[in-house]
Symmetry: C2
Subunit: 381 residues, 2 copies
């Protein structure tokens, strides 16, 4: 078990009717909020009404910044920073999924920085401060509601890069599983794949396979994600399954699932970020395509031990091949694509996808060459 | 899954050589620390030397408050408060196990309070503020290094009571598993029993048995505690087992293992606190005596469902009786007593023990009558 630091100051308010509690929490941070949201689903499921009423009732004014895209883009982030500055916003409130929260984080840090916000994403500047952030999560997937990272796409250069900094931890996140009861089935699938991917990256790239407690935690979260998703697919109105899925996705990327793993890397994410930067596909869908291929690559390069251990604990299977098949079966059952062709991505694009992925791979200091990425992508053809 | 709030601001620095990192962390909080420790084991295992050198190197003076007892007592806590005031201490540094950290917490809160510190424990006052606390943990068991509770014994009245408040969260805790390599075998056993007890109280008294993700987390921590302890019993120098045990014990009572369980209660702890208040036995030993008896009571009152579920997931057994037997076997193997007689406590004392336990049971708002507690204790005879 390797040395680690665990520090996560985000306060989580979880359960039915918790979104209104953001009102008094936000009021402690300031008088004017930038309210960040996406395409308007929060106006259909009641979140907008509940949240804005709670802000108003607690004396918090808000300026709206809507229209965040599923892969949030740099130009819209810059607009949000300008809007927050023009209106002297002293806090940011985000309502939506991981994309909305990620853009809200970038805005919160960008407002406090003299240069261009993209500097944080291309390694030119460090995030030292940010406006306090409050979130109402409506889509379990990215874990952004309880971590200090965010991902933004420079839509012109086609780069989907990440930024990190302790100042990005949301101060308070409200997670009401009721808001997820009406999620489209594709988003249920994408959320399940994404949260599984988060715990899998560490588990399969760790330099220390004897972190017993973290192995158990990873197995536990994987089992919970899979069992919850299966229940949701059967009965979308199953509140307890929605709740377990929501909390599992948060725990999957709040730091807990990598404690003691040492130098892990996010190879599946690096490749997927290239896919969604180039084709604007959902992050979860891209991951479902990349992961089975990467597992086959991992099996050839590193042997069957980790796949066997994971498969036995989570799927009740014996061999590495069965573990990979179990992942693929689960992704398919959830409705996610598992091959490039299913997302209409031609194999002739593989060199371009791999070249684009290299930007992030270099920025994250990972050892892979472009030829290795192309090889993995060919297994996803 | 019930509504819950999760908020845990403690920063954990985990691994080999991490105690010295408390120096710069403490320096950010002030210039003069009260250094709290126990009977001097930290002088044998190098913790005292490392910690005091790190404080000095970072410009933090310290006043020593040693001699904390395994069940920390009120008179010594009051002495610590006086010493901290006399020396204008602006922070508290604790080095040791849960008892040392608990007394350090009570001192940290007591210094900031005009009345008597026992007011916090008997429900007369709420903890609103405390000196910042930094801990170097040397014994995995209580979880105090990452939670907001503490337990103190009024040795005159024979009351072992608890106090809670967000101000009690340690600011930073350094967990170096190397410091646990020389623990006496009895403390290995007590730590294993205590940390298991922490996750078991919630699991078996929850009002919601469909918190899927938390069930999985509890099973994961239980498996990790048991597997780590078995490895430690076999090879006390097994660093990775020590590390997994240490982090498991922290996670067992940092809030994670009760998320969504709703109104849980600490019935085993309430009875055990009476045992250790009256006989000054180790907390873990007392719990190993109480738990098998309480399980039998639970089985008779609430049926086999929870015991069967836990047993299948953690011990690989089928029936509730086998689950109880598995607990008992594990406690015995670890070297903990499982009957009152093994701790030389006469059955004629049962009414007295139960009467004493009623103080805490009433304070914690639990429904049990004295006759029920006596019944449980008779099963531990």
């Amino acid at each position: 078990m390797r040395n680690f630091t665990f520090s996560n100051p985000t306060k989580i308010i979880f359960g039915k009717g918790t979104i209104a509690k953001l009102g008094p929490e936000a009021a402690r941070a300031g008088k004017t909020a930038l309210l960040v949201y996406g395409g308007g689903s929060i106006k259909k499921n009641g979140v907008y009404e509940t949240l804005t009423a709670a802000l108003t009732a607690n004396g918090v004014n808000f300026v709206e910044h809507s229209g965040v895209k599923p892969n949030p883009v740099l130009s819209h982030t810059r607009e949000g920073i300008n809007k927050a500055r023009e209106n002297n916003c002293s806090l940011v409130v985000a309502a939506g999924g991981g994309s909305v929260i990620d853009e809200a984080k970038a805005i919160a840090a960008g407002v406090k920085y003299d240069g261009d916000v993209w500097d944080f994403f291309c390694g030119k500047a460090e995030i030292k401060e940010a406006l306090p952030l409050f979130t109402a999560l409506t889509l379990p997937a990215t874990g952004s509601e309880m971590n200090a990272g965010c991902v933004i796409t420079d839509e012109t250069a086609k780069h989907k890069y990440s930024a990190h900094g302790a100042a990005l931890f949301p101060r308070v996140s409200a997670l009401d599983p009721q808001t997820t009861l009406t999620l489209p089935r594709a988003q249920v699938a994408n959320g399940a794949v994404d949260s599984l991917a988060h715990i899998i990256e560490g588990y399969f790239t760790t330099t220390d396979s004897d972190a017993l407690v973290t192995e158990e935690v990873v197995h536990a979260l994987a089992r919970s994600i899979i069992a919850s998703t299966n229940r949701i697919l059967k009965d979308p109105s199953d509140y307890n399954a929605r709740a377990s899925m929501m909390w599992s996705a948060t725990l999957a990327l709040n730091g807990l699932a990598a404690c003691g793993y040492g130098g892990t890397s996010f190879i599946n994410h690096a490749i997927e970020h290239s896919l969604s930067a180039l084709y604007d596909i959902a992050h979860g869908a891209g991951l479902a395509i990349v992961m089975p291929a990467w597992f086959k690559h991992h099996l050839a390069a590193d042997g069957p031990a980790r796949l066997e251990k994971f498969g036995a604990a989570v799927f009740g299977v014996k061999t590495a091949a069965e573990t990979i098949q179990s992942f693929e079966d689960f992704f398919k059952k959830a409705g996610a694509p598992v091959r490039l062709s299913e997302a209409n991505i031609p194999t002739s694009d593989i060199p371009r996808i791999a070249a684009n992925a290299m930007g992030l791979i270099r920025q994250w200091g990972m050892p892979q060459e472009q030829s290795e990425i192309e090889k993995i992508l060919r297994m996803a053809a």
